[in-house]
Amino acid sequence: MSSVDQFESVFKAAAKTIYVYDKPSIGRVLLATDLGEAEAALYQQKVRDYLGQVLPETETEWSLVGKDDFESVKDLLDRVEENRPDLVVTYRNLHSEAWRWPYSLGEYLEVLTQVTTTPVLVLPHPEREDAASLVSDPPQTVMAVSGHLCGEGSLIGYSSAFTPKGGKLMLSHVEDDVTLDRYLDAIDKIPEIDSEVARESILSRLLKDAKDFSVSARDALGEAGLGIEVECLAKVGHRLEDYRKLIEEGQVDLLVMHAKEEDQLAMHGMAHPLAVELRSTPLLLL
């Protein structure tokens, strides 16, 4: 490695990305449901109560899209386009019985999260036996699930917006150990690279960037006077399993993550498996 590269690395590491607090505006909320009119109204009230602490009634305009308002994905997209909401609230497997099997999100949700730029709050299906209890208490602990964390300002902005005063925001980042091991195995086979140094340096660097950004986010949110506790978590592990464990241990009430990927049409990295499997935890997909 040349001296220029060495110093460049030090300066690149010193040039940190800092989180700048930018409060997202969530004034218009659209609830999309496949329930009948009366049930939909009841359900809407339940959702409004659930989000009351973070979306005050006086500052939020709610609209409802019920069973008869859409029969196809295009219909739903048209309703969203007409309403131009800042947030869509819905659940998995609209107009389908597939919600009983934890293998899909349903065509409506999958398309909605990718086609619109509006964040989508995914609640547990209302026909679940435990549905009422899952959204009975307002979220107190919110976890942001990041791909890189570093530079994901909007993720932290929305996560903090859904964390009530006195609540806890967990900024989490789990580096996939399987992918990492594959790269480190490749490094092990390159004689020019000291495997032990590479292993230690890559691991510490990956986690340090995420931690540094979390710390800057914690400082910025503190300065913004939101009155929330911010915890930073960065680790290496098997991502789905570790997130499950973190959610259980942290008693997470709401999970926030990016659903869109710039260079692909499918859902963002970990978002799809988490959204499919974590069916009892409300999710905010950005």
């Binding site: 220029v4 010193a14 940190k16 990305t17």
Partner: protein, 470 residues
Amino acid sequence: MNSPFQLLAAASAHAVPASVTYLFLGLLACMILCLAMEEKIHAKKSVIVGVFAILALFLGTWFGLLPFDDVGALVIGGHAISLPVYVPGVDWEVIAIILGSSLFVDVTSKSGLFTWVAVKLTKLSRGDPLRLLILYGVMTVVFSAVLNNVTAMIIVGSLTGVSLKKLDRSEKLLGFLLVEGLLTNIGGLLTLISSVPNIIVGKTAGIEFIDFFIKASPYVVIATVVTIWMGAKLFKISSLKSDEERASAKALVAGFDENEGIESPGFFRFGAIMTFVFIATVAMTSQLPVVSDLGLGFVALAFAGIMLVRYKAVADRFYKAIDWDLLFFFVCLFAVINVMEHAQVLALIGEWIMPILGLGDSAGPASMMVASAVASSVTDNIPLAAMLAKILGGIPDVANNPDSPYWWAVIFGANLGGNITPIGSASTLVSVTIIHKYGLKLSFAGFVKVAMPYALIQLALGVGYLLLVS
């Protein structure tokens, strides 16, 4: 009456046939040509000069030019010592200074001191391009003076790439890097140990560190201000206009963390203190008892040794990082120059430059400076400095006068010549390497075209300054 160079020739133990002298002169010319074409022939300096050292020593022995009798019967401190004939010709003090100071700088840089200073200055600029150019320019000069010009260019150049990218001002990168590259050779003039020509010529002339600094610093200040001013004008680097731009730039540079490169706060403080003590000791070497006898080389090696204690278990890592190419280059170069001296080549070249000395007290040094600069621009300035130092050292009037303008003409010329072409000095070559690393196009001719106005003004200032102070 004999000319000074005839005296120099007479100092050699034996007469040398002219044909042999010309043969060795050809060898020297070939070596200089090969050094100038170092990039083209894909060979390291040490290998090029090493091959010529082997040839020179072989031919020198073949023609019976080398003093085998003298080096075979040396008596030092009452002990008879036999040395290989190529050993006494090497200036080990110069080698010790270069080895010691590069080790010291390398270990000290691990404390994060230099990157801390660099990042602090970046933040101090608040992201304003003009302020950044001024601060980076001054930092380049100071780092070149305190460390060496190659290390200075590496540190400032790599930071420039990162910070301008962060500020979204990559279009200004060429201007910044070029100005910094040119300033390394200005900063290289500030102290006796800032560049190798300074060390070689200064040591031969007997110039003290403090005297060197006092004499060179006014020029360095003026040339730095003029170079930065020209850089700002020619590359259209100006201050930010609106409050919005200023606020955005300030926020971007605020993200820099100056503590990132600091592994241990204790070692950082130790590194800072040792750097100041090192500079102070180097400055006062000639006044300090005991140390004055041991010399600058000892000081540099001793400070490197003290710093290495921090990394005692992994000191070998630093030995691996030493620029062995440069050190072997010097050793071999000194051996070649020594043979050339015995072959009367230096006396012959001295005769050729006699007309320059004959131009008088003003035109003589001025012409010497320009000639040295032109020669340094197309080949390595180190052989030139070593050769001219040896030649000037053979002229009694110049040799006995550390204030002679001829010494300074060679020092200024050898340093400033590096700004005319990209191969003129190692630091401008580093600057061009960084320019190419960032995908910017700058050919040899392109560099000369852009750098020539700076080099001409710096040389004109140098000539004027030299005439003023001598």
